[in-house]
Amino acid sequence: MLGQALLGFMTVDALLAVTWATLLGIAVGALPGLTATLGVALMTTLTFKMAANDAILILICMYIGAIYGGSRSAILLNIPGTPANAATTLDGFPLARRGEAGRAMGIATTGSFLGSMIGILFLATIAPVLAEFALDFGAFEFFWLAVFGIMICGHLTALDDPIKGWISGFLGLLVAMVGQEGVHAYPRFAYGSTDLAGGIGLLPALVGAFGFSEVLIVMKERAAETVRSATDRVLPKLEDLTRYWRTIIRSGVIGTTMGILPGVGEDMGAWASYAAARRASREREKFGKGSVEGLMAAETGNNAAVPGAIIPVLTLAVPGSAPAAVLLAAMFIHGVRPGPLIMIEFPTFIFAVVAMCVLATFGILIFGLLLTRPLLYVLAVPRERLMPVIFVLCTIGSFAIASRVFDIWIMLAFGILGLVLREMRYPMAPLVLGLVLGPILDTSLRRGLVLSDGSPIPFLIRPISLVLWVTIAITVLLSFRRIRTTLAGLLPWRGSREEISKEAPKG
């Protein structure tokens, strides 16, 4: 089935689409101020009228291209092009300053390629199995899945202060309650406004939170120092790859796992892989000073998270990351219904998506290695000229989905909210996940209570529900420092994002 799916895309039109979409994705990722989420969201509005498979192909190429493209600015400007490339700056920029920018970019390209392929392997093998398993999910399980998503995302995206992550998540769930609800069609929190009765659109909210707020943050920061030339060789040495094969595989697996966790996406994929590589490395002291192994781990991890994030999208209709949330919305727009029934209603779709990911991955390998020098010019555009253009696209992109001026207001509100939250150290990802999971949580809880006639017993003893709520309980308990320190005394495991970034020398 995978072979058939791949053959289906071997047409001139499809390959052309892969080419321009991947190139555009790399450019979007490379430019600070443009995130993968915004890129995929804007492309969703642009591919509105296309056939489902063509549209999703373009979106996936944009997604994979952007997560890879951010490594360019991370290495050359010490600014991650997307949040997923933050870990890349730690070793990429020092390498570039040493005159090895080309080598760093070559490592980033191959790492991204290999990470993506590992993720695709998991996607192709796990997704059909998980979809079968998910057929056993009832209202009770979906309720706990929604809560689990918020709790784990809130915890992992705000490791030093999980409460802020959970507040962000529950606020997102609350915002999702605005509008007509799914059982009686009663307009909640609408106060007579037809616009509010229509609910808060996911795409305008995402464009605001990940587009407009990024624009504001870029304008707020000082202008960047650049390493503009890359005159050393770009093609990575074979020994760089064979020496660190263990790191590559480990990062691929960790990245994919982070992608599968709801809402926890490519940036955690990179950080967790980086932390694990550092702990296991024999050259630990080089990390943060231009370690090839560190760079490889970060870039393999973040790209492995992309197919990982697509797995729950296809099988459970729960996004594994913010760009995956946009992909999910796009699938619904094009009439593909992801979720447990996908193997029954659209059995070939999973393999079509696998084929799309394979094509996009080869795209980033080819363009990444061939177009190193031309892509450097992309980074030369001054932000004073680029940011207003991006904002124009944000505005028209938000409007174009449903032709509502109200959506532009949502984009503005979420943009400013995103800026405020970031300044106050609240993570954005749980808010967005809350928006997506709100309706699922709402209908599942009510349906479950009707089925159980108000009894909490089925919520607690059904096997999958049991696993989910126990994991949630463990997550909450682990957030208490006293419990964590007791456990740390018992286990040798340590290491987290803030410890790594505290230890790594800045710049």
């Binding site: 529950f170 028209i396 207001w409």
Partner: protein, 164 residues
């Protein structure tokens, strides 16, 4: 942070109370013989209660860290910081464009005015001499015209979107 958390905690407590209140006000459709567990206010009420609880935890934690009496140094330095000023100007221009111009004047005109103003205002302090300034002043409307016409044409004729 404790001071900010103190205020945020208070805001969240008030929000939680407001949401629970509004949820209790929502109809339960008993006259339609609806199952009480399908009441529209059930889940918002629960979420309001959880936000109230989380807000209370934040509030108490911040109060214990002295958040109620710490001075607010950020506000004093805030308006002097060039980054904050740039962000404020960007917000103002963006709100004026997307919230004001778009919808009231033709889209291409709104976009042209926005980009020209934005680029000129931000590039003005970067100019090194009069010739450089003149070049930047001339470039801004050119870029704005290209983008305004390009984006309008793309969305109107290629993607068939009726522009605001």
């Amino acid at each position: 942070m404790p001071r900010a958390d103190f205020i945020t905690g208070l805001v969240l407590i008030l929000l939680g109370v407001a949401v629970v209140w509004a949820s209790l006000d929502m109809p339960r459709f008993e006259e339609r013989n609806a199952n009480p567990y399908t009441a529209p206010g059930l889940v918002p009420g629960l979420l309001g209660a959880i936000i109230l609880a989380l807000g209370a935890i934040l509030f108490v934690r911040a109060a214990r860290a002295g958040g109620w009496r710490l001075a607010w140094p950020a506000a004093r330095h805030g308006t002097g910081d060039p980054g904050v000023r740039r962000a404020a100007l960007s917000i103002a221009l963006c709100l004026l464009y997307a919230g004001g111009l778009v919808g009231t004047v033709p889209f291409w005109l709104a976009t042209f005015l926005f980009i020209t103003t934005f680029v000129i205002l931000f590039e003005w302090p970067l100019a090194t001499d009069r010739a450089d300034r003149a070049r930047r002043l001339a470039f801004a409307p050119l870029l704005a015209a290209v983008i305004a016409v390009g984006v309008t044409a793309l969305f109107q004729y290629v993607f068939l979107v009726r522009l605001p």
